[in-house]
C-alpha cells in the first residue's frame, strides 16, 4: 500500500515525506516558470541604454511573476489532483463509517460574533442554521451563542428583541443565548476570547460563524465528527461559497469564486495539508488547545503596525500549529456559505481593514517556533497587498522608461544574447514572454473551466455551457477593469498604513441598498480617475504607441467612477440573473438553508411598538417605553452590587435630564452609560409611565403620542 493510501494524518515519516514531495513539486513549478519568464525579461533588457532602471524593472518583474506563478501552481496541481479518483489526502477521506453516525457528538458551541449588523439578516441566517441542525436530529449536542459587540443602541435593542422572538418561535430557550459585551476590547478576537473564558470549558468544540455565514446542519455535524475522529486536528476550515449577491458586482464576484475556487482550493490543500490557515469563520475549532494557545499577545509598537492584532485568524492557526496541532482546510465539503461585499467601495473598505491586519503580520514572520507553512501564509497575506504597490511602481517605471527614450532621443535596440544564440528574433522573444505571462495569469481560470466542463453535469449546474463561457468572458472583462482600481486602492492603503494612518474597525455593509451614488463614487475614485487621465495624457504626448499595451490599466482607472456605480446596481444584477448570466449552482438549485434565509427576510415585518425607523433615538425610546423590551434589556444587563455616591448622583442627574429635556440633551456617551445600567433603565421605564406627560420633554410627549397610535392600531387591529 502506498503511503498516500494509509492514514495520512499522523506524524509518521511517510506523512512528512509526502508533504515534502508535494511542496517540492510546487516550488519546482514556481522556480521553473518564474525564472524562465525572468530570464526572458533579463535577456530583453540587456543592453538597454538607460542603465540602472532595467535592474529595478527586472527585480520588480521577478517578484511579481513569482507571485503570479505561485497562484498558477495551485490551480495547476489542484487541476491535476482532481483528475481520476481525486486527492487521496483530504481530511474527508477518513470520515467515520456509517455505523458510527449515531455516536454521541462532543458538546459544541456555535458562536456568532456580531457588530452593528443588519439584525434581520443575522437572525434569518441563524434561524436557517438552527432548523438545519435540528433536521439532523443532533440538536442536543449544540448550543448557539450570539456574541454582540454592537455599539449602536438602536441595533442593540433590535438584537435583544430579535433574540427573544427567535427563542419564542423556535422554542429554543436555553439553546440560543445572547451576550452583549460592555467593552469591545480587542474587537472580534477579543469577543471570541471572552466567550472562551466564560463558557469555553463547557464545550469541546466551537464552530465560528460570521454575521453573514450560513451553514447546513449536515456539514456542521460532519465537521464535529471529523474532529472526534482526528484527535490531532485542532481546526477545520471550510471553504465558504459566496452566495445571495444581488448587485452586478457581488454576482460576478461570486460567479468567479464559485467557478474557479475548486481547483485553487484543491491546489492549496495539495501543499498545505495539515498546516493550513484559518479564515476566521465557517470553521470549527477544538476548544482546549484554542484556549491554551490562542490568546493573542500585543505586537511591539503602536497602531497601525503594532498593538492589538487585527487579523487574528492567521495568527491563531500559526499558534495552534506551533503547539503541534494540525489545521486542515476541507475544499470538498459543501453546505458552507457567506456573502460578499455588494459594491466595489464596500469591498475596498474591507480590504483596507485586511491590509492593515496583514501588514501587522510582518512582526510574526520571523517569530521563533512558527512552522514554515505559517510563515508562507503570512508572507502571502502581506504580498497580496504589497504586490499592488510593486505593480504600480513597475508600470510607472515602464512608462517613465519610454518617456525617457522619447526625451533623450535614444532608441532601444534589444540585444538579447540568449535569443540570438538560439536564432530567435527579439520581437519573437517579446511575444513568448507576453504569452507566458498571459498564460500564468489566465491559465488557471482556463483550467478551472476545463475542470468544470469535464464533470458530468458540471456546466448544467451553472446554467449550461454557453452561459458558463459567456460568464467567464464577462468575468474576465470585469477582472481586467477591476485589477488596476484595486491596485491603486491597495497601494494607497499600504502607504497609509506605513505612514501611521490607522484604520477604524468599521462595520461591513452586506447589502447594497440603492447602490453607490455618483457623488460618493466621485469622491472615492477621484485619485484613480485623475491618475488615469494624467497617465493617458502623458502617453498620448510622449508615447502613443504604448497606449494599446496600457489600455486595460488606463481604462480601469479612467472609468473607475462609472464602473463602481454601475456594478453596484441591483437592477443590473437582477437583469443578469434573468438572462442566466453569472449564475451559480446555489442560485439555480438553492439549498434549503439559503431558501430559508430568503423566505424569512421576505416575510419579516417591522415590530409594532416602535418609533419610525428614521428616528435616531428609537432604540432608547423602545427600551424605556415598552414593558417587555425594557424587561429583556434589564435582565440581560449585569446587576451591579451598588453604585458609589458619586456614580449614583451622576446617573440621577442624567436620567432626570433625559426625561425633562429629551435625548438631544444627552451626549452619546451618556446615553450609552444609561443603556448599560440596569437600575437606570428599570427606573426610567417606571418613571415614564408614572409621570404626568406634561412634566416630560416635548420629545417624549410626541414619541408617546406617536407610539400610542401605532400600538393601538397594532394591538386592536
Amino acid at each position: 500500500m502506498s503511503d498516500e493510501n494509509e492514514a495520512p494524518f499522523g506524524p509518521s515519516s511517510a506523512h512528512v515525506a509526502r508533504i515534502t514531495r508535494r511542496r517540492v513539486s510546487v516550488v519546482t513549478f514556481v522556480v521553473f516558470t518564474a525564472s524562465s519568464a525572468t530570464l526572458l525579461m533579463a535577456d530583453l533588457l540587456w543592453g538597454m541604454p538607460l542603465q540602472g532602471w532595467n535592474g529595478i524593472v527586472l527585480a520588480l518583474y521577478a517578484v511579481l511573476i513569482s507571485l503570479v506563478s505561485f497562484g498558477a501552481s495551485q490551480a495547476f496541481f489542484g487541476f491535476l489532483v482532481r483528475r481520476g479518483r481525486g486527492d487521496s489526502c483530504l481530511l474527508t477521506r477518513l470520515e467515520p463509517a456509517e455505523e458510527t453516525e449515531d455516536a454521541p457528538l462532543g458538546p459544541t458551541a456555535i458562536v456568532l460574533p456580531i457588530y452593528n449588523e443588519d439584525v434581520a439578516r443575522v437572525y434569518a441566517g441563524l434561524r436557517a442554521i438552527y432548523h438545519s441542525v435540528a433536521a439532523t436530529g443532533r440538536l442536543e449536542h449544540f448550543d448557539f451563542f450570539i456574541l454582540s459587540d454592537t455599539t449602536d443602541p438602536n441595533i442593540w435593542i433590535e438584537e435583544e428583541v430579535g433574540w427573544v422572538e427567535l427563542n419564542r418561535e423556535l422554542n429554543s430557550r436555553g439553546r440560543i443565548h445572547y451576550r452583549k459585551r460592555r467593552h469591545n476590547t480587542n474587537a472580534k478576537a477579543g469577543n471570541i476570547a471572552d466567550f472562551c473564558r466564560r463558557w469555553g470549558a463547557r464545550y469541546r468544540y466551537m464552530l465560528v460563524l460570521d454575521a453573514d455565514s450560513i451553514m447546513s446542519g449536515e456539514t456542521i455535524v460532519r465537521l464535529v465528527r471529523m474532529l472526534e475522529r482526528h484527535a490531532g486536528v485542532a481546526l477545520i476550515q471550510t471553504a465558504p461559497v459566496l452566495a445571495r449577491g444581488e448587485t452586478l458586482f457581488a454576482r460576478i464576484l461570486q460567479f468567479g469564486m464559485r467557478l474557479y475556487s475548486p481547483v485553487f482550493l484543491s491546489g492549496l490543500n495539495y501543499w498545505q495539508q495539515g498546516q493550513g490557515n484559518y479564515w476566521g469563520h465557517n470553521a470549527i475549532v477544538r476548544l482546549a488547545p484554542f484556549i491554551a494557545h490562542c490568546a493573542l499577545p500585543e505586537l511591539p509598537g503602536t497602531a497601525p503596525f503594532g498593538g492589538k492584532i487585527l487579523s487574528h485568524d492567521f495568527v491563531e492557526a500559526a499558534l495552534l500549529q506551533r503547539a503541534g496541532w494540525a489545521v486542515w482546510m476541507v475544499p470538498d465539503i459543501d453546505g458552507s456559505y457567506e456573502e460578499g461585499p455588494p459594491t466595489l467601495i464596500d469591498s475596498a473598505q474591507r480590504d483596507r481593514r485586511w491590509c492593515q491586519g496583514n501588514l501587522q503580520h510582518f512582526w510574526l514572520l520571523f517569530a521563533r517556533g512558527l512552522r514554515g507553512a505559517s510563515r508562507v501564509h503570512m508572507a502571502l497575506g502581506i504580498f497580496s497587498y504589497a504586490a499592488s504597490l510593486l505593480w504600480l511602481t513597475s508600470l510607472v517605471l515602464g512608462t517613465l522608461l519610454v518617456i525617457g527614450f522619447v526625451r533623450t532621443g535614444l532608441t532601444w535596440v534589444p540585444t538579447p544574447g540568449l535569443a540570438t544564440t538560439f536564432g530567435i528574433a527579439a520581437h519573437v522573444e517579446i511575444v513568448v514572454l507576453v504569452a507566458l505571462t498571459v498564460l500564468l495569469l489566465f491559465g488557471p481560470k482556463l483550467l478551472a473551466v476545463i475542470d468544470l466542463l469535464r464533470q458530468p453535469g458540471g456546466a448544467a449546474r451553472f446554467g449550461g455551457t454557453s452561459r458558463v463561457l459567456l460568464g467567464v468572458l464577462g468575468e474576465n472583462l470585469f477582472s481586467i477593469l477591476l485589477a488596476p482600481i484595486l491596485m491603486v486602492f491597495h497601494a494607497k492603503f499600504l502607504v497609509a498604513t506605513v505612514l501611521g494612518v490607522g484604520v477604524r474597525w468599521v462595520t461591513q455593509r452586506r447589502s447594497s441598498g440603492d447602490g453607490t451614488g455618483w457623488g460618493v463614487a466621485f469622491r472615492t475614485h477621484a485619485d484613480q480617475t485623475i491618475l488615469g487621465l494624467i497617465w493617458l495624457a502623458a502617453q498620448i504626448y510622449y508615447a502613443p504607441g504604448l497606449i494599446g499595451w496600457m489600455s486595460p490599466v488606463l481604462a480601469g482607472l479612467v472609468f473607475s467612477v462609472p464602473f463602481s456605480v454601475l456594478t453596484s446596481r441591483e437592477a443590473y444584477g437582477r437583469a443578469a440573473r434573468r438572462h442566466g448570466l453569472f449564475s451559480i449552482p446555489e442560485e439555480i438549485a438553492p439549498p434549503p438553508e439559503l431558501v430559508s434565509v430568503d423566505d424569512t427576510l421576505n416575510q419579516s415585518r417591522p415590530s409594532a411598538v416602535v418609533l419610525p425607523d428614521t428616528s435616531p433615538d428609537r432604540g432608547l425610546f423602545r427600551a424605556i417605553f415598552d414593558p417587555y423590551v425594557n424587561a429583556v434589556h434589564v435582565c440581560l444587563l449585569r446587576e451591579r452590587p451598588g453604585h458609589s455616591e458619586e456614580i449614583r448622583q451622576y446617573f440621577d442627574e442624567v436620567r432626570e435630564r433625559l426625561l425633562q429635556q429629551g435625548p438631544e440633551a444627552l451626549k452619546p456617551k451618556e446615553k450609552l452609560a444609561l443603556f448599560s445600567d440596569a437600575e437606570s433603565m428599570a427606573w426610567l421605564h417606571a418613571e415614564l409611565w408614572r409621570r404626568p406627560p406634561a412634566s416630560l420633554a416635548l420629545w417624549w410627549r410626541e414619541a408617546l403620542r406617536s407610539s400610542t397610535d401605532r400600538v393601538r392600531i397594532s394591538a386592536l387591529a
Partner: protein, 187 residues
Amino acid sequence: MTNATRLDPELWGEAYARVEHLLIAYRVSNRFLLAQLSNHILTSAAQRHLAEPDRPRADLAAEEALRLIGDWIDALIGPSNDSRERRFAQGRAAIFLADLPARWPTSFLNFRNPPPEVVERLRATYLAAGPDLEFSNMAPQPINLGPISYAADGTWRTFEKWPLLRGLFLWSLILVLLGSAFYLTRV
C-alpha cells in the same frame, strides 16, 4: 367608583387613557379584557383618590396599574432572592417569552387560578446572558519574535523616543533615493 370620584369625567377620562395605553403596551388586545382590566385599575385608583384627593387621578391610575402588574408578577413567580425591580423585569421578560397576552389572554392580571402551565413556564424562565459560567484561563503568552523583529522594534522605539533621529533617518533616506535616481538615470 364612588360618588366623590365620579364628578370629573374629563380627568377620569385622562386616567382611563393612561391605563389603556399601558395595557396595550403590555399587548392586551382584546377589547373586552381591556375595558375590564382598565375598570378594575381605575376602581383601585378611585379608592386611593379618596385618601389622596390632591394628586392627579391619571398619576394615581398609572401607579395603581404598575403596582397591580408588579403584585401579579410577584404572585405568579413566587419568592426569589432578586430585588423587586429585578423580579419585575424577570417577570415581564418571562411573560414576553411565553407570549402570554396572545396565548393566554384571560390570564393576564388574573390573580385567581392561573393555568398551571402558565405558572410553570413563567417560573422556569430566568432570562440571563448565557448559561452558567465555567471560567477558563486564556492568558496571552509572549511570542519570541526573533532577532529581525526585535531589531525593528528597537529601531522603532528609538525613533519614537528621539524624533530628531527619525527626521535624520528620513532625510538621509530621501537623499539616498534621489542620489540613486540621479545615478541610475545616467546613460
